[in-house]
């Protein structure tokens, strides 16, 4: 099989070939590493590449599968992880100069699960320092470039993971999200990104951005691949105080393209500032859902106009608490923008933080009432396509300073409230850049969100589009 065929395979098909022994894990890993070496000078998506360890583990996987000890759909599959997750014996930086040489002795919970499932970690991806940002330009290791246009950002903070999947460097990557760090880069990079309900995936052994908003999430080219990557890593973990007791994960077996009767809500007041091409793609996507049997309804939750500022105040205060010691000892070693953000967080008083939590509670109650009437809230994931690198952190166009109907409220409320959310491609604009929409479900309605996303991907082919860089 020619190498390019392997890279174009989704996780589902790659897995089938490996278990059938029509393709070896060794060959799959070797091909992914070759693609990484070919493209990463342009993308800067990786901080660490496991050039020796990954092929050795792939060889071991081939031997196990050959003996009939097949562990499941991730066995022998090359995957990547954001450099937020601790990996025993492997550099773990958080994108920071502060930990530029740190090698942990233990694995994070995510890595434990991936190793148990037989996945082969081929690299650790670039990010905004400790997850503090929405562009992946705030890394000690330099900015991540978008595979669709190298002058554009990949989005952040999990931009390296999104860029890797979009570029075909492994079919699956794991990231984290505190504000929008899975859904935004997924949208900008034209792939599928999913963050489950708060507490579904353990965060043990990953750096904290803001403990009450941090989630682990996934990137893949389709929602079917997302569920294959979700099942092995979901589950209760007493080492994470936010972890929830839950049934044995079975998102893949319960995945079905049936949304008949589902109520999909649109909060139109928040869409006024959305770019016209993005809006048109979203409106077309709504028609697809209507055609599949959904009822599209208008919804008004004015409390959400306070979501972005509440989320930002909360995460600023929490990240200042987390970074307090390092900030005092070596604040000059942070990326300047991140250092300034921590400084601002350091000045937030306890009573101000509690005010934000009261606001958060009020927003949560309004959203809870909304989900008694509807099943899913849908919106464009971002108000615009990936901005230029030269626009810097302002390029995202977020407004976290005022109560408003800015679309950034819709981007930030799912992480602040712990709701499951999926971003999936729904168009390409006139500049050949991908457009994403997000589907947000009620707490623990993860399967509903995934099924709706599958329905859309069954009826459309936006998720199969690839950047010119890859096709070349």
């Amino acid at each position: 099989m020619a190498p390019i065929d392997i890279l174009e395979l989704n996780l589902t098909d790659l897995s089938k070939l490996i278990v059938a022994r029509e393709l070896s894990s060794t060959e799959a890993v070797k091909t992914a590493l070759a693609r990484l070496d070919h493209l990463d000078d342009k993308l800067n998506a990786f901080i660490t590449v496991l050039r020796e360890q990954a092929p050795a583990e792939a060889k071991q996987a081939d031997e196990e599968i050959g003996r009939g000890n097949y562990r499941g759909p991730l066995h022998g599959i090359p995957v990547t992880i954001k450099d937020m997750f601790e990996t025993a014996g492997v550099l773990t930086t958080g994108g920071s100069k502060i930990l530029a040489d740190w090698v942990p002795e233990t694995d994070s919970a995510l890595v434990e699960h991936l190793r148990a499932a037989g996945a082969i970690i081929i690299g650790k991806t670039n990010l905004d320092e400790f997850g503090h940002g929405g562009t992946s330009t705030l890394s000690h290791f330099g900015p991540v470039h978008n595979p669709w246009n190298l002058d554009r950002i990949a989005g952040g903070s999990s931009g390296g993971s999104a860029a890797a999947v979009a570029a075909g460097i492994g079919p699956l990557s794991y990231g984290t999200e505190t504000g929008s760090s899975v859904r935004r880069p997924a949208s900008y990079c034209g792939i599928t990104g999913f963050k489950p309900t708060f507490g579904i995936i353990s965060r043990h052994g990953s750096f904290r951005g803001a403990w009450s908003q941090d989630h682990v999430g996934l990137f893949a080219r389709s929602v079917k691949d997302i569920t294959l990557g979700l099942d092995p890593v979901a589950g209760f973990d007493p080492r994470d105080p936010a972890s929830v007791r839950q049934d044995e994960p079975a998102y893949t077996t319960r995945l079905e393209a049936n949304v008949r009767g589902l109520k999909v809500a649109v909060l139109r007041r928040f869409l006024d500032g959305v770019n016209s091409e993005v809006r048109q793609s979203f409106d077309r996507a709504l028609k697809v859902f209507a055609g599949a049997g959904c009822e599209i309804v208008d919804l008004d939750v004015p409390e959400l106009s306070y979501a972005a500022m509440t989320s930002m105040l909360t995460s600023s205060a929490e990240s200042a608490g987390i970074n307090r010691r390092w900030f005092h000892e070596r604040h000059q070693d942070y990326v300047p923008h991140v250092s300034r953000g921590i400084a601002v967080g350091m000045t937030i008083t306890a009573s101000e933080y509690l005010t934000a939590q009261r606001a958060r509670h009020k927003i949560r109650e309004a959203v809870r009432a909304a989900y008694e009437k509807v099943d899913i809230i849908a919106s464009p994931t971002t108000a615009r396509v990936a901005p230029l690198l030269s626009d810097g952190v302002k390029g995202n166009g977020d407004d976290t300073r005022h109560a408003s109907y800015n679309q950034s409220n819709l981007l930030r409320f799912p992480s602040m409230l712990g709701l499951p959310g999926c971003s999936l491609p729904c168009g390409i604009n006139s500049e050949s850049l991908p457009i994403g929409m997000q589907l947000i479900g009620a707490w623990f309605a993860d399967q509903t969100v995934l099924n709706a996303a599958l329905t859309y991907q069954t009826l459309t082919d936006w998720h199969t589009r690839r950047p010119a860089l890859v096709k070349a």
Partner: protein, 60 residues
């Protein structure tokens, strides 16, 4: 710079920044004052949050 912003800067406990960084921080602190004021008004009729720390679902 307002007194409120000056009081916030004092909480940084001597961390030194370049003039440009300091100017950016002051701007963000002025924004923060607006954010806090808006949130206080928005949240004033909301009950205080009660969070306990017992293991969930267990009788202690």
């Amino acid at each position: 710079m307002t007194d409120k912003v000056a009081r916030r800067l004092a909480l940084l406990e001597g961390a030194e920044f370049s003039p440009a960084d300091l100017e950016a921080i002051v701007t963000e602190l002025e924004d923060l004052e607006h954010v806090v004021a808006e949130l206080e008004e928005f949240a004033q009729d909301t009950p205080w949050i009660s969070l306990q720390v017992q293991p969930a679902g267990e009788k202690v």
